[in-house]
């Protein structure tokens, strides 16, 4: 046990003596959460719109008012003539134009389905679709308030509620992804590099010729990275809850325990890589290509797994991050307990055991 702590202490010194790496490891989660939270956002605020009101009656004025006061839109230009539309899109850079036909109010109350034209700039199709949906929703809501649903007995009314993330905040989506990527990076990449460094420097030989058991060497090397990983989880959670008001609806101890499990899975991956390669550079390349890319692309963090072709969907099953993201989302947003996420947890436990088993066997007790 004493020899073990001597080892952990030495490994901690290595990490602390390399402030550049340490700053990256601590700074990166902060930078990512802030970037994803503030800058990279799927939400649209204050989109520039143009309005051509051919009617100028109380109804059109109120609808226009609702649109501009919703927070989603800001009035960039009010058109005097329909022919100015092109000009508005080209020079005033509006994303959406709303056109009210003449005598709108009369048609509206006579119920002969008046038309409002929504014209969107579809150079960015996602933005266009979203803006049209927002505008339609606002208009429909106004219509309902004025007429009540009774006037349309056979119309199917849809009522949409975005559960677990009512305001559709994208940071809610990114935080679980960022936790996953950072843990994979710290646990798998850093440990595989730290272990191969000993091989490269020749110190691994000295360690193996000492009475230390190989398992103790590996454990001693990874313990500081477990601590670093947990510190990262704490940083991300504190940022997410304080700055972005992201809830943790489930149990915090469960979330931390699951994070620890995922750290172990990643560590096992890192150990397996380091047992097969000889240099830090190869370890780094393999970690990036074989771990980071699938973690980012195939975990459901950025691209929905449901939309992938069957082959990629099948591959995604062996990506640990895929299961962990479901767990984090479940616990943080849905308040899920073990009863809900037991399957994902079991998958991770199983993966960890297989990986540890495999790397213990391939970890060369004796350098041949």
């Amino acid at each position: 046990m004493k020899t073990f702590w001597a080892f952990v202490k030495k490994e901690t010194i290595h990490i602390l003596r390399d402030p550049r790496t340490l700053i990256i490891l601590i700074g990166m989660p902060i930078a990512q959460v802030v970037l994803f939270g503030f800058a990279i956002t799927n939400e649209l605020n204050d989109a520039r719109i143009a309005i051509f009101d051919g009617s100028k009656d109380p109804v059109t004025i109120e609808i226009a008012d609702r649109l501009t006061s919703s927070g989603f839109f800001q009035l960039a230009v009010e058109l005097k003539d329909e022919s100015q539309l092109e000009q508005a899109f080209r020079h005033d850079r509006v994303k959406l134009a709303v056109v009210f036909p003449p005598e709108f109010q009369d048609h509206f109350f006579r119920e002969d389905s008046p038309q409002i034209q929504l014209i969107a700039d579809a150079t960015d199709p996602n933005t266009a679709t979203t803006l049209v949906a927002y505008a339609s929703a606002i208009i429909r809501q106004y219509e309902q308030e004025k007429k009540g649903s009774a006037t349309l007995p056979y119309a199917i009314q849809t009522e949409v509620r975005m559960r677990y993330n009512q305001e559709l905040k994208s940071v809610f989506l990114f935080v679980p992804g960022v936790i996953t990527i950072i843990l994979m990076l710290v646990s798998a990449m850093m440990t595989s590099i730290a272990l191969t460094r000993e091989k490269e420097l020749g110190t691994m030989e000295i360690l193996l010729v000492s009475p230390l058991k190989p398992a103790v060497i590996v454990m001693g090397k990874v313990i500081p990275y477990i601590a670093l990983g947990l510190a990262n989880v704490a940083i991300i959670l504190v940022l997410a809850t304080t700055v972005f008001h992201m809830p943790i609806r489930g149990s915090l101890p469960l979330l931390i325990a699951e994070s620890l499990l995922f750290i172990l899975t990643s560590l096992a991956l890192g150990i397996m890589i380091s047992s097969r390669v000889q240099t830090q550079q190869v370890a780094l390349m393999i970690s990036l290509m074989a771990l980071m890319l699938p973690t980012i692309l195939l975990s459901g963090f950025i691209f929905p797994i449901e939309n992938m072709p069957w082959l990629l969907r099948a591959i995604s099953h062996i990506v640990p991050a895929r299961w962990f993201i479901v767990i984090v989302k479940g616990v943080m947003l849905k308040g899920a307990g073990m009863a809900v996420i037991w399957k994902e947890t079991l998958v991770l436990v199983f993966m960890t055991l297989v990986l540890i088993g495999g790397s213990v066997r391939s970890f060369k007790l004796r350098l041949e």
Partner: protein, 245 residues
């Protein structure tokens, strides 16, 4: 003389390639035994089998009284090892390196403290005890590595080309350290390809293509083979086999 190392028909094969071919020798306690050979002759492989880093394919060997097959863990406690690659941590200080290696050999806190003081004094490194090893010149690092390899008072030290890339004066000082260790009764098993260093050893063996081609004290070998220097003998033995190939 008591035997520190005893090997009989020790063999290591990698697939169909025989790296070490049935070598037999003994090394007495307190002896400086030089293990010579060209690169690829099997020196390092033989040394690894003796230090518990690799299992022999066949043959028998005992190191410090322990069997290489059955008691490799006990062997590890009783030997020190310094490899041809530099083996201290560059980003740890001199003191931290000593403390770490003392720690992994299970020395107590008090033992480590007194050992650290003693080593620093012997090496005259007290004034830079808190400097990181990377700031030290190579010669000092090598001497420190040799001392650190003996932090747990092993009865045998294995040195794998310890003086590679070191200037002649430092090499001389390094050998003085080896003599001092031998005087204390420590067995020194050293591989080298500097033939002048071979002359410093009590006994040497010359390995060629996995076999021991010659063994004895430098004086005996020169007399028996009628050569002026070990270098001459080495070249003759090495050329002999390469002409056979």
């Amino acid at each position: 003389m008591e035997q520190a190392i005893w090997a009989e028909n020790l063999t290591k094969k990698f697939g169909s390639f025989t790296a070490v071919d049935a070598i037999s020798f003994t090394v007495g306690q307190g002896e400086i035994f030089g293990f010579l050979g060209a690169n690829g002759a099997g020196k390092t492989t033989a040394m690894r089998m003796l230090s518990g880093l690799s299992f022999p394919t066949s043959g028998k060997a005992r190191v410090a009284g322990f069997d290489v097959y059955k008691q490799p863990e006990l062997i590890k406690r009783h030997i020190g090892y310094m490899s041809q690659k530099f083996s201290l941590y560059e980003d740890l200080t001199v003191q931290e390196n000593i403390r770490f290696y003392g720690g992994i050999y299970g020395l107590s806190g008090a033992e480590i403290r007194s050992k650290t003081e003693q080593l620093l004094q012997e090496l005259d490194l007290e004034w830079i005890a808190k400097s990181q090893v990377q700031s030290l010149p190579l010669g000092w690092k090598q001497k420190l590595a040799f001392s650190v390899a003996q932090v747990h008072n092993p009865s045998i030290v294995f040195l794998d080309e310890p003086t590679g890339g070191v200037d002649p004066i430092t090499r001389r000082q390094f050998w003085e350290m080896i003599y001092r260790a031998a005087d204390r009764g420590v067995t020194v098993f050293v591989t080298t390809h500097y033939m002048d260093e071979a002359e410093y050893c009590d006994r040497i063996s010359i390995m060629v293509d996995g076999r021991i081609a010659a063994m004895g004290s430098p004086g005996e070998l020169k007399r028996d083979n009628n050569v002026p220097s070990i270098n001459e003998l080495f070249v003759r033995l090495a050329r002999h086999t390469s002409s056979n190939m």
